[in-house]
Amino acid sequence: MKKHLSEVELIELCQGRLNSRHADEVRKHLAKCAYCAHRMAATDEFVASMDAWKVAASDECALDAAGLISQAARDRERDLPYRIVRVTLGQAAAIIVLAGLSGAVAGHYLAQFSNARRIPAERVSEQVAAHMMHLDALAPGAMTGLDITSDEVQIFLGGVTQQ
């Protein structure tokens, strides 16, 4: 056994909580160790001080079970509407999240579809450049007074975009 008994052992011996084997060991130690025997004697006094509150607290804590049960019943009734609201809100949130996810997936596929028909970037730059220089006015049949072929327009456009 260790040198001195712990506070916990002294208290548990005093309260009769140690099992018989452990209690025997503690008693043997107390018979040999004057210091622990002295602490044990003081423990009786200490336990009496602690138990003063124990008795008072037990008296004060006489329970009104019927009151608690009726309160719990009232809480249950009061809780029901909140539970319904919580479930409803939860379902609404789930629907919103599902709708958002569906929209995101649909948007992704639509974007891919529209990308497939998109005009290549170099053709866009050609058109923008032609539009900025009003070259559409040179197109065949345009009311410009000039008469150039579409091939000549393409050559001109090529020259513009290469610059």
Partner: protein
């Protein structure tokens, strides 16, 4: 044990399962079994009966709400005491913050002679000595001394190791001895 027309149960875990299935009579039985003990634990941690009653109500409200999701992995009372202890500590911390604020605002009102007269001197000394302990030590003392739980059980409830609980208890008991029985050990007998 019979808790009502439709509820028969022999242990707390089974009562919780029944409560989760909508057998509300099981809550009544759980309260009959444990409310008094929860109230005493909360009272000793908080020192005020009205606040202890609030803790009891809140504890069983949580039991009621948690029951549908309850899994009997651990002993029911371990979980129940953990809820009660945590709620009591939350209230105590809130009280400490408010007391600090009151002191800061110079609204502190000491306990009057009339109030202390209602209790015996020994009760008041024990209550004050325990109230002056650090939070974990106070909880450990309440559960070990008054509820007679082992260090391992207290460890499960508070989420600490049994060794940490025993260490805290040793310090707490030493402090309480000094405050309640200052001539008991120290100064009369040198350690051998």
């Amino acid at each position: 044990m019979c808790t009502g027309a439709n509820v028969r149960a022999d242990d707390d875990e089974r009562l919780m399962i029944l409560l989760g299935r909508g057998e509300n009579e099981a809550l009544d039985e759980l309260m009959r079994r444990h409310a008094s003990r929860i109230r005493q634990i909360a009272y000793r941690i908080l020192g005020k009966l009205d606040e202890a009653d609030d803790v009891v109500q809140e504890t069983f409200t949580r039991v009621f709400r948690f029951a549908p999701r309850y899994k009997p992995n651990a002993k029911f009372t371990t979980w129940l005491f953990r809820v009660a202890v945590n709620l009591s500590q939350d209230v105590h911390r809130k009280n400490c913050r408010e007391a600090a604020l009151r002191r800061a605002l110079r609204l502190w009102r000491p306990v009057t002679a009339g109030e202390t007269h209602q209790e015996s001197e020994n009760v008041e000394r024990a209550r004050r000595a325990i109230a002056s302990l650090a939070e974990f030590q106070r909880t450990a003392i309440v559960l070990h001394y008054y509820e007679r739980l082992s260090c391992a059980q207290i460890g499960e409830i508070t989420g600490r190791s049994a060794a940490a609980v025993e260490s805290a208890l040793s310090r707490a008991y030493a402090t309480l001895r000094q405050r309640l029985n200052p001539t008991g050990i120290q100064g009369r007998f040198p350690e051998g």
